[in-house]
Symmetry: C2
């Protein structure tokens, strides 16, 4: 049976302007691969409501799971929760359980739970909360969309809260052979390998190192014995 | 007048599987910002023809420019050029000018221009070539889509070849204020600022450092005097 599929939606002007490098995508990609969920697409859009709503709808329809990152804080540019509600035609308001989490947190820290911070308790109707062990303000799951924070430490913690509840498939295994030849020299060998192992994916990623051409050949699949067989054949054919 | 808009399409299983971190997006984002072209969306899709074709069509219709990265090498998994041709309903074949570039390159290096390498001279009908000063095999522009290599050194060189030919708008200027307070404490101030400067974007990016909460407030716009005015007001209001 095919593994469940997933897409990620990163919400953030700061990445599109080149100010910040996204760190969450790489983390999520690795965690999903381990969990046997195939990440098929990532989209990054700006803090723009129509763009977010359109992307949420398209990805929610196209994939088994959608993971979003960013835009759920207390400031005016945090519009993700409202956009998710809009995308699903749900109402949104401050919810008692989320408010209680924030009240307890700010009582402990001595900071004021002001109107801005209370925005972080706005949860769309019908959503379930995602625990945030780092800074309390929760994420949420609505339908097949998991809405998480953009701050990397919080994002990682929320992924760890969500993933155990999702059924995964067979983890994707991979082996890499590094070949110090131009990929044009090994292309025919790889093409024949890919044809003989249609259940595996054979990727070729070229690089230059100290002026010499090389390539990393990555063989991926869910059946470890098949990956082994393909890599053994390839190493033999390339004289490695 | 509004700046031209752009989207980026990254083609690569290796990023979605978490094996590799994308480096090209951050570079392109910074170069476009300097050039006055607004990067509005990034999509990352796998080496899957229907996914690539659908993304090319959607982004080409939605934005002034589309920049792609990856999938134009000599191996069986390099299917980008064929997908671009398909997306625009064009034929594709080895083209004489691209072939001549490769012939001269391989004559210099003493390597064989075999069938696999000749794949890199496959150019869709009606495209113009993008120069590759690093490793010769060209990219191409078809319609508003600029097709470039995934290897970062080659991608950067191709961006440098393409950008001077595109008309840009006003470069986006930004200033950052780092505030060592929780963003919930400054949210009202930022919200009022954003309302009074509708021509600017005011972003708030929280962080934790040594256990304390802080936020980078980034004010962006094309009019330097307005950005200055907003930052000066904000610094005053926050007592910085």
């Amino acid at each position: 049976m095919a593994n469940p599929t997933a897409a990620m939606l990163v919400i953030g002007d700061e990445i599109l302007s080149g100010r910040t490098r996204d760190a969450n995508m790489h983390h999520l990609a690795q965690e999903l691969t381990k969990h046997g969920i195939d990440l098929k697409e990532v989209r990054i859009v700006s803090d723009d409501a129509p763009a977010i709503v359109a992307a949420v709808r398209a990805l929610s329809e196209g994939f088994d799971h959608v993971f979003t990152s960013g835009g759920i804080g207390p400031t005016h540019d945090d519009i993700t929760a409202d956009c998710i509600a809009d995308a699903f035609g749900r109402s949104i308001d401050v919810r008692a359980d989320a408010r209680a989490l924030l009240e307890a947190h700010y009582a402990r820290t001595g900071l004021e739970l002001n109107t801005a911070r209370l925005r972080m308790a706005r949860i769309p109707e019908g959503a379930t909360l995602i625990e945030n062990p780092v800074s309390t303000a929760p994420g949420f799951t609505l339908g097949n969309v998991h809405v998480m924070a953009g701050v990397p430490s919080v994002f990682c913690a929320m992924v760890a809260s969500v993933l155990p509840h999702l059924s995964g498939g067979a983890p994707l295994l991979s082996q890499t052979l590094t070949v110090m030849r131009g990929e044009g020299d090994i292309a025919d060998t790889l093409s024949a390998l890919a044809a003989d192992f249609p259940d595996l994916s054979v990727g070729c990623y070229p690089f230059q190192r100290d002026g010499a051409y090389g390539a990393n050949v990555v063989v991926r699949g869910t059946d470890g014995a098949r990956v082994d067989a393909a890599v053994t054949r390839l190493a033999g054919e390339l004289g490695l």
